[in-house]
Symmetry: C2
Subunit: 245 residues, 2 copies
DNA sequence: CGGAGTGTTGATATTCCTCAACGCGTGTGG
DNA sequence: CCACACGCGTTGAGGAATATCAACACTCCG
């Protein structure tokens, strides 16, 4: 469990006490590795543990009648992927990996114990579900009010901000292991239209997205196109939240 | 505070102990009445209390550059409107009334006390934010995957299900105090297109929506058009959640 | 070597938006 | 009491954005 331990220490930097890190680490039952493009849980499943993504990329989605999916969330390392399964017990959507991923499994009864014994930590877990909801809200905005370029730009800005927060952006570039089809399923567009829109963004010198990564040439312009404001990610409060008040 | 008391008793029917109802009631600082179409809190505001809608209708939204809003949620009596403000401290969107509304105000420090002293109740509050997120997810699906008729149908189905859960549907009809512009802002459509789509739904004998109410003539067909499945509302678990395990 | 998945491009169809006009009801001030 | 403005719903005509259908190139991998 050493890797998990390092991971938590790094993510908790200064905000969690030694005891709290120990409690969180103790809540992890095991770490599993799933291959790329694999469904972990399905809509309707009764869940008894929640998952913390340690390495890789995951997503959550709903299936539509026409066979396409609507992505609901994109997950980067450090995200609690389905903390909402705790309390709701049953999933209302599917969860899957995008690339091979390492995932820490946290049984719900251990979260019960945290709720009981470590209220500060409990509030952090709650907070992670609230951040999730805040992101959902921006996805609603993106789909309801923006055109194709705006939706893609907004999505890419969000992922960049979150990757930046975990130190995974180098010179404006970061891993984005999504096909154009995937991006379409995140943004409510066909893959064909995603293709044309990405080409435009590339030709206009805004961003080059493809081959598993995103290179943002003009972040300001990208944010303008996507009407993006990172406020909703509450990044100023640090990865584990501003729980001092 | 008698009205609040009755309200809580009715909503908590059998699921909350006498003590728990007392705690919840004690958390309410006061009840305020706001006129129709009034913003209660704004994006970026620091919030120190959360609001429980007792009577009326409210919504939450984000503003777009073009001056239009994107609605994020529609609230009926019994909803905690911004429980997420607790823990997140700052709002990432606006909250407003749609019609004149009575709202119970719950200071955050009293929620702290509930977290500390009444974990079962705390879990219920958490649960309300998770239900909120589940609804957000369906809104994402609606906007990303459905056409105009589907979006409106899905939205109306959701409101019907929630109104039903609080006993406010009579003969397939319920209050829906929204203009076509509002519906457009909920569904990512222009009011003109909402108008044409509502006409079609009416002419096809599916639903008649307007003049402040919705009359659902063919619920099955409406659900089919909107690819609606009420699972995500977790209504089987009762208004306060299935917290027995 | 063949096949599947992905990215790319073109031609055409459809949905939805934009702009514009008008009716109707309601409230309001003269 | 009338005149008028305003918000809302309604309808029409034309245009823009996006989907659909189809074909083909490229890469990776069995």
């Amino acid at each position: 469990m050493g890797v998990t331990d390092d991971f938590l220490r790094e993510r908790g930097r200064g905000l969690l006490s030694h005891d709290e890190i120990a409690v969180l680490e103790g809540a992890i039952d095991r770490v599993e590795t799933f291959p790329a493009r694999t469904a972990i849980t399905r809509r309707g499943d009764r869940v008894r543990e929640s998952t913390l993504l340690i390495e890789g990329a995951m997503c959550r989605y709903l299936d539509a009648r026409d066979g396409f999916r609507q992505l609901l969330a994109y997950h980067v390392p450090g995200d609690f992927v389905d903390m909402h399964g705790y309390t709701l017990h049953r999933l209302d959507h599917d969860v899957a990996t995008i690339v091979e991923s390492r995932v820490a499994m946290v049984p719900h009864d251990r979260i019960d114990a945290i709720m009981r014994d470590a209220p500060r930590l409990a509030k952090m877990l709650w907070r992670s579900t609230l951040l999730d909801a805040a992101m959902h809200r921006e996805w609603i905005f993106r789909l309801g009010r923006l055109d194709a370029a705006g939706r893609i730009a907004h999505f890419v800005c969000e992922v960049q901000a979150r990757m930046e927060a975990i130190g995974r952006v180098k010179d404006g570039a970061f891993a984005l292991p999504l096909t154009q089809q995937d991006i379409g399923e995140a943004c409510g567009l066909t893959s064909v239209h995603v293709n044309r829109t990405l080409r435009r963004l590339r030709e206009e010198g805004v961003a080059d997205i493809g081959r598993g990564e995103a290179r943002i040439a003009d972040p300001r312009q990208l944010a303008r196109i996507g009407e993006f404001d990172a406020d909703y990610l509450y990044l100023d409060d640090g990865p584990w939240g501003d729980t001092d008040d």
